[in-house]
Symmetry: C2
Subunit: 140 residues, 2 copies
Amino acid sequence: MTRALQILKDAGLRKTPCRLQMLDLLLQEGRAISHSEFELHLEAIDRVTIYRTLHTFERKGLLHKVIDGQNQSKFALCSHSCDEKEHRDEHIHFHCENCDKTRCLDELGIPEIVLPVGYSAHRANYMIEGICAECVGAGT
Amino acid sequence: MTRALQILKDAGLRKTPCRLQMLDLLLQEGRAISHSEFELHLEAIDRVTIYRTLHTFERKGLLHKVIDGQNQSKFALCSHSCDEKEHRDEHIHFHCENCDKTRCLDELGIPEIVLPVGYSAHRANYMIEGICAECVGAGT
DNA sequence: TTCTGAATTGCAAAACTATTGCATTTGCAA
DNA sequence: TTGCAAATGCAATAGTTTTGCAATTCAGAA
Ligand SMILES: [Mn+2]
Ligand SMILES: [Mn+2]
Ligand SMILES: [Zn+2]
Ligand SMILES: [Zn+2]
């Protein structure tokens, strides 16, 4: 049984071509993917179905939305034990200014901050922009 | 001479009603403002002019773009010596889940991170979501 | 103060991004 | 194999940001 199929089973979701292709792309690329990038790879699939699948996957704890400062949401696989009840995706994200790819740095937690009196924190987002390992030293 | 006018002079920008009203709102609110919020306050001004003014101000180092938790862009006054050559806006931002207001925490720097080998950082973004000082204990 | 050219604006249109309604198709468990 | 809820495709709508261009306005020079 393929990895993508296992993920769908575990989430209690039906196996469909759109879902399998989207999971395959995410697994293969190992980074956050935008709606428009899915659209390019899934030629036979309707735009709307991709939007709906992204929402379903996010709700089920398969994906988390990554804010990378461009005006487009990207989505990355949740690595741990996220599910419908609770997401735990508090790690640093890296956006490459050269190739525009966005990656989860799962191993890097977000440093805690002491806030001014009166503020209370629920969630934090730490995003770094720069040049990724693939692009360093690679001209252009 | 009003504060807003002084800012325009210092930046070498012409005085126009749109620019003055936008700076006035930013100075009065002391927080990051979204395009749609400017649009509500500046009734006589065209949407497109607001977009263009935001870009101009950003380029001149008067504003910096703030990404809040919903991937929506907001804009806040630069507090220090930003200009056309260089922005220095590396501080933490706070987005309140209750009132949706976004503020710069200018006094809080962003903790540095050691990145995996090969990555190089240019800029960092640290955003906290939670409840702000104004909203804590204020029902609703 | 008046004049003049460049900067700024408004309006229309286009380009992008995301959501909704509904009829049809599909996956899966009984 | 069948029944039915879940998922999809398509058309339409809604929301956001950019672009082109003609008309207006600002600020410095005369
Ligand atoms: Mn992530
Ligand atoms: Mn700020
Ligand atoms: Zn890169
Ligand atoms: Zn608040």
